[in-house]
Amino acid sequence: MTTTMEKRRAESYLGGEYGIKSWFLTQDHKRIGILYLLGLTFFFFLGGLFAVLIRLELLTPAGDLFQAETYNKLFTLHGIFMIFFFLLPAVPAVLGNFLLPLMIGAKDVAFPKLNLLSWYLVMAGGLFAFWAMVAGGVDTGWTFYTPYSSTYANTHVIAAALGIFIAGFGSILTGVNFIATIHKMRAPGLTWFRLPLFVWAQYATSLIMVLGTPVIAITILLVAIERLFGVGIFDPGKGGDPILFQHLFWFYSHPAVYIMILPAMGVISELVSCFSRKRVFGYKFIAFSSLAIAVLGFLVWGHHMFVSGQSLYAGMIFSLLSFLVAIPSAIKVFNWTATLYRGSVSLATPMLYALGFIGLFTIGGLTGIFLATLAIDIHVHDSYFVVAHFHYVMVGGVVMAFLGGLHFWWPKMFGRMYPEWAAKVSAVVIFVGFNLTFLPQFILGYLGMPRRYHAYPEEFQVLNVLSTAGASILGLGFLLSLVYMPWSLIYGRKVRGNPWGAKGLEWEVVDTPPSPHNFHETPSVEEPPYNYEGEYTAAEVAHA
């Protein structure tokens, strides 16, 4: 009896079965998380390649590297792959899948088969979009505005849109799965206010996924119906409404921003707490601010349309609501900062990313206030100011949090530690490169450079050269992680147990790397989250 127990303990979810089939037909949430990681990494670097090509074209004012149509396809594909096939699924599908059951003391998610299906859907969607790219590309911008997309574009609009449509079902299923799992499968004693904030964030995110994604699916179908059968829905030339598409599109796509950033905020709460060895300051305020963002996020879509022909008073209401959604984000930033106070602050790589996130997200959020301000938006709408703003939120926010989380849970996932020095270099290079890329774009936008321009007036060149230089540095930073992370799987220091001295079921109870069924016996929870009370020694928190 004891020997079989021992044997089972030694076995991790990575071992046991090795074959291709055991991975592609797995229902284990951890393996599905790893499958997502592989797929999304591919799409991230594909999207990154397009970004490099865009920045190279913009090195000079003349449109001389690519033809205009090629350039238009590049920024469209950059947007589609980065948003729909990396940013949207990144934190929920990779980290959420891997961690959610571990954090709540469950053996798996509520519907393991649906979970596998959602991976296949996202990958099928990605491959559709990939096919659209190989077949000749699509040039509508990731926003697919009608009537350009439905009547005028001659590129592979339907294939790309269908890819997003299919991947959307993956998103809905993941949302349903997480909601059911969080409601029904928490360990005994794990009350709502004992949940890690990452779980709260996943819950809020899942609500948006389930409520919002069907709207984009319907919208895409309507575009396809207009394009294929000439039914007038959006094109006024056919009797449609010229503004309707934008309402439907942003009704999903604004909340989608919160699908990306909310789980990233959940990661930051975990990192800040662990690397300060402190309870999160204002736990309930952070938890409820996630829900407030999820709800308010559905009421602000019109701020993308201040100059679109929407009425003056609609503009004012959407502006006011957009200011209100800034408050819960501000609450989070202040609470994370306060968590460090009187802590024991370690600057291990995940914490570097978390600190980078707080700084960059603060700038990203505050520049959002500029755009919510009606007077300023008239001028900077559709300019590089907007481009800079959402990259501060999406890259400075989501990508930083994703990388921070990936480093933090890497030893839990693979039982090996990444090389700390390389990771720190990479984190610093990414931070510097990022700022050099996108700070100049704020200035460019206010100066008057429109987005999606293949060629631009000469007086904008200096700032564009700076931006391209920054992008090269940023790209090197990402490539460095692409080298040392896989390297560490073979050569990294072996880790067992809890290398960070972190709290939470996934660190304190689950094996490293986890066994196939996560818990040898159902854990019961008797303490508040982030219970870092008590003395500790340097050896217990090795990475000080």
Partner: protein, 317 residues
């Protein structure tokens, strides 16, 4: 590459300074809060760095702090919202006495007509110190008319009129861009706005072939398309008399009321039976395919110019 390099755009319209003021205020707010957060983080990183013999002290949180960092940002937000909304209202509400220009966007050019009839493409000559309103519509996809030096922009969409107004304050040449992605040559859809002294503007107008004014062209179209058989005074009353109707409200057959504006005129020409004035039969044929956007704009200009007939009933409001 460093010629003309600058970090802040030229301001050349009456409201550009108002918009810049909010912008600069918000830069101040951003610098203040990001510095505050950065200093707090850096100080904690140094003061409470993890080291032998140093232990974290647990703190539960503080309602007072939570309230203050919710309420203070909220108050700043409400203030900036009100400030921005006030300027927005001004920028979106054209003054009554403005000169009316007509703009048509199409892939990939701007066609512009002056009130005196002169036409230009991708160039807009305007006199300094005059209030000018642009009435804009697109023939194909969405475009957006942006003059950064004036800090003004509006989307130009098919099937719906939009407008911007401005008063240029500085003589010079400024960029005109299309800001809404509109296809292959999006980045080439632009040109210059040339702001001139009123006397230079007059000289420019005199040198350009004027053709007919939009109002006159609209009158000719109104006759050639035989609109006047039903819509002129005493024409047998198959359709309403349109003199002096523009800008008033119309009562529809189903009892609803709406404004008799650019969009209503355009819709009534293209889909005449959709919203019929009360007291009339839906008998008007469509002019879809017989008139283009430029011609519709001229008919609108003509209808706007019509004074109510003498002895007409008091205007409905």
């Amino acid at each position: 590459m460093f010629e003309d390099f600058s970090l802040f755009p030229e301001a050349a319209s009456s409201y550009a300074g108002d918009i810049d003021a909010v912008y600069i205020f918000l830069i101040g707010v951003t610098v203040f809060f990001s510095t505050l957060i950065s200093i707090a983080l850096l100080w904690c990183m140094l003061r409470y760095r993890r080291r032998e013999g140093h232990q974290a002290q647990q703190i539960e949180g503080s309602l007072l702090l939570e309230l203050s960092w919710s309420i203070v940002p909220l108050l700043i937000c409400l203030f900036v919202f009100g400030w921005g909304a006030k300027i927005f209202y001004n920028v979106l509400t054209p003054p009554k006495d403005a000169m009316e220009f007509y703009v048509t966007g199409k892939q990939w050019m701007w066609r512009i007509q002056h009130p005196t009839g002169q036409r230009e493409i991708n160039q807009l000559h305007v006199p300094v110190g005059e209030k000018i309103v642009l009435k804009m519509i697109s023939e194909d996809v969405n475009h957006s008319f942006w003059i950064p030096a004036f800090r003004v922009k509006a989307d130009v969409v098919p099937g719906l009129y939009s407008s911007i107004w401005f008063e240029a304050t500085k003589v010079g040449e400024y960029h005109l861009f299309c800001a809404e992605y509109c296809g292959t040559k999006h980045s080439k859809m632009g040109g210059q706005v040339v702001v001139m002294d009123p006397s230079d503007y007059q000289a420019w107008l005199d040198a350009e072939p004027a053709g007919v004014t939009p109002v006159e062209a609209g009158r000719l179209l109104f006759e050639n398309l035989r609109c006047d058989t039903c819509h002129a005074a005493g024409s047998g009353q198959r359709g309403p008399d349109l003199a002096g109707r523009f800008g008033r409200s119309v009562t529809l057959a189903d009892g609803q009321t709406m404004r008799f504006d650019e969009d209503y005129v355009r819709e009534s020409m293209l889909e005449p039976t959709r919203r019929v004035s009360a007291g009339f039969q839906p008998v008007m044929p469509t002019y879809q395919g017989q008139v283009n956007e430029d011609q519709i704009q001229k008919i609108i200009a003509y209808l706007k110019s019509l004074e109510p007939e003498v002895g007409d009933a008091a205007p409905e409001r």
